[in-house]
Structure formats: structure tokens, C-alpha cells
């Protein structure tokens, strides 16, 4: 008696069917593309990357162009180029929008939007999204902007600031170097630099805003500089310059042999280990330093290396404590 034959849908077809059904249930409306009237679209007023030219100026370019400054002229040239290509091949990548009130607000594609106005288009291709939460919106704009060559450090800073604020709001913890790295997918070094930028003091930020500092690496060097006086000198020097500073090479030329480091006092050498131990213990009894006592336990009193290190550590703490006492002008 022959065995009864059984039949089944082929494995790949079965997987295909299952996966297709699956992908629909999770992504309804995710690829919602359409043609939209330009006047239904508006730029995001909170986009960290502010175009130097506004929609109104583009609409009546002949009237406004005479009053344009250098940045605006540069931006306008770029828009004109984009508009030429749009006239030839149309807008290839849809502008991403979400519904906000009666209009649709741009998530990404503000330049395409302005160039479309410049080209005299009535409608543009859009991808309609759900309104993203603040964090995702800033994140998208950051990703959109991060790779642009023409983005200034000031714009990057604002970008970073808003993404960090949004992150803090969502995750309830402040952003860290590590989370920044994971979030944006950059190297540890780059993340450290951005983190320095985020923590830069007011003076550095002011220089960045003024366009005198535009180099992330340089900012990192300045922020991480320990020598306060030298830092102050360098910042003053940069402030006095008329153009952007890209490296400190010129600073040395200008500053010549002038000392940039704080003058220091040599505390001399000591040969008697017992005396050194006495001095260290004595200093640790001081009210300023007594709280650090536990950091100096288990010291090998017979090793000159360990002893020297301990003194170095202690002097650093002492300096810091003394600095705290003095009023610091910011």
C-alpha cells in the first residue's frame, strides 16, 4: 500500500508570505508619499540649522537680493544651483513633512523646499510622517545636517545642544560621552570632541558664534586645557583676531617666547624618607586637606617613586582647594 502523499507550500514562499504580512502590520503608512502644494508646507522654526535666507526673501528675490550679506549671497548661489538641477530632473528625494495644525512642517529638506520655490514649482514630492517626538525630530535634523560641509560649528553647537536637551528630557539623565557616541554613531574621539564643545565655557561659545572658532579639534584643545592663564591668553588672542583661527601655530608666532604657563615654584628635594613621611602626614592634618586622608593610606614609605607621586597628588589637591577659596572671575 503506497504512503499517502502530503503537500505543503514551499519553504521560501511560506517565509515570504509570513514576512510580508509581518512587515505590513508594523509599518502601516510609513512610506506615505504624495505630491503636495508648496503653500501647504512650512519650514520648522526650531530647526537648529537656520537658513540665512527666508521663504519670503526667496519668493521676492529681486527685491531682497540687493541687501544680502556675504553668507546670504553664498547660500543663494547654492540654492540657485539646486534650483537649476530641480528644473532639469525634478526633486529626486521627497521632502519629509509632518502635519502641524493646518500645514505640513518640514522635518528634512528645507533647502529643497526653498529651491523649489525659486524654481517656480507649485507642488513637490513629500513623504508624510507621523509627528515625531521632539527627540526624534532633533535627531533626524542632526543626522540630516551633520554631514553637510557647509555647516558652521555654531550651527553644529546649537544642533548638539538641542539634541542633548531632547535626550535629557526623554531619558531623564544628562547626555554622556558614551551615549552621545552610540546615539550619533561616531568614533569615541569625535564624541569626546563634541562633548567638549557641549561643555565649553561662555567665552569659547561666544568666539564660535562670532565665527572666529570653527574647528572642533581646536575647541577640544582649548576646553581641555588645564592651564587657566594660558587659556585666557589664547582666548584673548583669538578674540582680537579679525578672521577665523584654525590652529594655534600662529599664536606662538604672535606670542613669541612669552610664557604661557603659570609660573611655578620648585619645592626642592628631600633625601630623608622619614622627613618626607612626616611632612605628608602633617599636611594631611590641615583642615583643607584632612578630607583626602583616606586617599593616602597604604603608601609604601620606602619607595621614592610612590612618595613622589603621592606628593604630586597632594599638591594638586592643595592647589585645587586654594583655587576654590579665591573668588574666580568668569
Amino acid at each position: 500500500m503506497p504512503i499517502k502523499k502530503r503537500f505543503s507550500i514551499s519553504a521560501d514562499l511560506a517565509t515570504g508570505i509570513r514576512n510580508t504580512i509581518e512587515s505590513v502590520t508594523h509599518h502601516e503608512g510609513q512610506l506615505h508619499y504624495d505630491m503636495m502644494l508648496l503653500n501647504l508646507i512650512e519650514p520648522d522654526p526650531n530647526n537648529p540649522r537656520q537658513m540665512s535666507i527666508s521663504k519670503r526673501e526667496v519668493q521676492d528675490i529681486n527685491h531682497y537680493m540687493a541687501g544680502f550679506n556675504e553668507t546670504q549671497l553664498k547660500d543663494f548661489e547654492a540654492l540657485k544651483e539646486l534650483s537649476t538641477s530641480i528644473k532639469r530632473v525634478g526633486i529626486r528625494n521627497a521632502i519629509e513633512v509632518y502635519k502641524e495644525g493646518t500645514k505640513y512642517r518640514i522635518i528634512s529638506g528645507e533647502r529643497r523646499y526653498l529651491a523649489a520655490i525659486l524654481s517656480g514649482l507649485q507642488t513637490v514630492p513629500v513623504r508624510i510622517n507621523q509627528k515625531p517626538d521632539d527627540f526624534n525630530l532633533r535627531y533626524t535634523q542632526w543626522i540630516e545636517n551633520i554631514n553637510r560641509k557647509d555647516l558652521s560649528l555654531w550651527e553644529k553647537y546649537n544642533n548638539l545642544l538641542s539634541i542633548s536637551e531632547a535626550y535629557t528630557k526623554v531619558s531623564k539623565t544628562p547626555i554622556t560621552e558614551k551615549s552621545l557616541q552610540e546615539l550619533i554613531g561616531i568614533s569615541a574621539v569625535q564624541s569626546y570632541r563634541y562633548f567638549c564643545l557641549l561643555n565649553a565655557d561662555k567665552k569659547i561659545i561666544a568666539l564660535i558664534k562670532a565665527g572666529k572658532l570653527n574647528n572642533l579639534k581646536l575647541v577640544q584643545e582649548l576646553v581641555s586645557m588645564k592651564d587657566r592663564i594660558a587659556k585666557e591668553q589664547i582666548l584673548n588672542w583669538i578674540e582680537a583676531r579679525k578672521t577665523e583661527v584654525t590652529s594655534l601655530a600662529n599664536y606662538k608666532e604672535v606670542a613669541g617666547k612669552k610664557r604661557v604657563a603659570m609660573p611655578s615654584i620648585n619645592l626642592g628635594k628631600i633625601k630623608n624618607f622619614e622627613a618626607a613621611r612626616f611632612l605628608l602626614n602633617h599636611l594631611l592634618e590641615e583642615t583643607l586637606l584632612s578630607k583626602y586622608k583616606n586617599r593616602f593610606q597604604d603608601i609604601d614609605w620606602s619607595s621614592n617613586k610612590v612618595m613622589s607621586k603621592s606628593f604630586k597628588k597632594l599638591f594638586k589637591l592643595l592647589e585645587a582647594e586654594v583655587n576654590e577659596l579665591e573668588p574666580v572671575n568668569d
Binding site: 499517502k4 502523499k5 502530503r6 503537500f7 505543503s8 507550500i9 514551499s10 514562499l13 511560506a14 515570504g16 508570505i17 509570513r18 510580508t20 504580512i21 512587515s23 505590513v24 509599518h27 502601516e28 503608512g29 510609513q30 512610506l31 506615505h32 508619499y33 508624510i128
Partner: protein, 291 residues
Amino acid sequence: MRIIAAANNKGGVGKTTVSRILAEYFSTVKKERVLALDMDPQANFSNRYIKMESDPYQKDVRIPPLHPNYDPQSQEDADWDGRSSIAGIFFGELVFPYPTYIDTLEVAPSHSSKLLLAEAVTREEVVQKVYDQLSRFLGLEDVRSSYDKIIIDTPPSKGPITISVIRAATDLIIPSIMEPQPIEGIYGMIHLWKNETLRRSQHAPLNLIGVLPNSFVSRGIVHNDHLNDLKVQMKDYVLDSIIRRRLIYAEADANDAVPPSIFMYPDSNPAKQEIIQACQEIEERMNKYAD
């Protein structure tokens, strides 16, 4: 207004049968105003309700007959050749649905050569126009206010015309025989459904009503096995009802069949019972989705 499309890119799986059953169910049993729309160049769906004509000068071509309201003497019809098909929407022509033997059922027939022409377009910008044309037509206020249901029969392909139907539809039914090749056709259709669902706004979804097993042989192991398998892979999307393989469907399809519709058979007829059950299940599934 709901727009129901029966689609499967494999031929001979029951698209026209299901379209017929639904058109007759909603118009005769539910007394709703129905428009039967035939997008298949083979024109079988149209031929059920109006006598399609052959054009002796072209091979394999079926064209709609002269419209009953056409008056060659009238000034009003001076610019019209008296024939109207749904293919007209691709050529800027007006569409005049034809009345049928059922009061509340009208048909916008196929036109083989015109539909084949629309199906064959390749230029990107023209293709895009074809995609959106049916949806535009069915969006017209005139159309929306005239019908409760639109039933669309589609060609056995995944070409521009099928896509235009998918874009216009609110509900999709995939008739299929439970055999390997037609099941591949199901895969092709749910792909189109996926693309369309991702593309559309969430507020106007394309509801996948499901696969309707057709021409089913209960004793056939291959049919049972494939049906069971399919229910595992897409459980929410396979209808419980089945339409069995019966000669009566072919008989009702014959020219001058009496009675012309299975719904006119006695209630004791098993074919009538099974199609009513299938239609009711489809209706219930449609009602689950908001209008």
C-alpha cells in the same frame, strides 16, 4: 462607498467568479447600488451583464456594445461613438455605465484594446498617470454619490492596471485555488498590498479582506494541505468560507443561462448556500474596518 477589488496575478483562479458573486450579492440580496467595473481586457465580467461585441478588424478584441441611451440623431451625442468603457478614463473619455438585468447593478465594461494599451505603457510619467487614474475617477463626487459598492475585476497581472486598481480600492480579496502556482500569485498580491499599505495614509487603508479559496475539492489532499499551510502563514487573512469546484458556476456563466444568477436558484441549492455564506463573511470582515 466601498471599492472591492478581486485580484490575483495568476489566471483562472476565480477573480471573475468572485467579482460576479459579490456584484450580484450586494445588488440583489442587499439591494445596494452597485457598479461592476471590468478592468480585465478579456472582458468576461462585462460579458455577464452586457453583450460585448467583437471588432472584426482586430484580433481577440472585445468592445462594449452601443449604449442604450446613445442617440446618433441627438446633437448631444454628436461627439460620441456610442460606446463607453472604463478604459476611457485613461484616454480622457467620459464613462457611461450600462444598465443590467438587475435594477441596482450597473456595469462599466472593459475595452480590450484600450486596456491593453494602458497596460503596456512604459514611460515613467505616463505609468504614474495610469496608476492614479482609477482612484481619481472613483473619487469623483458623481461616482461616490451614485453607488454603495464598486466591484472591480482585474487582469491576471501585476502591471499598471492592477496597480491602479490596488490604489483605488478600499478592500482587497484574493481568490485562489489551493495549488502551488496560484499560491505564488497570492504572494505577488500581498506584496502589492504591502507596498500600497506602506505608501498610503493610515486614515485611508487598503483592507486585506483575505484569501478566498476557490474551486476547492474537499477530497483533494493537495487542496487541504495547502489551505492548512496557508492558514498557518497568514492566519488572519484566509477566509473560513470556501467555494467548491462545481459545474454550476460554469453553467451560470453560459450565454443566456437560466436563471442568469446563482442567487436566483432555490435556497436549498448548495452552491447558493455556500456563496451566500462567503459573501456574508466578506461583508462581516469589511464591517470590522471603519468606513
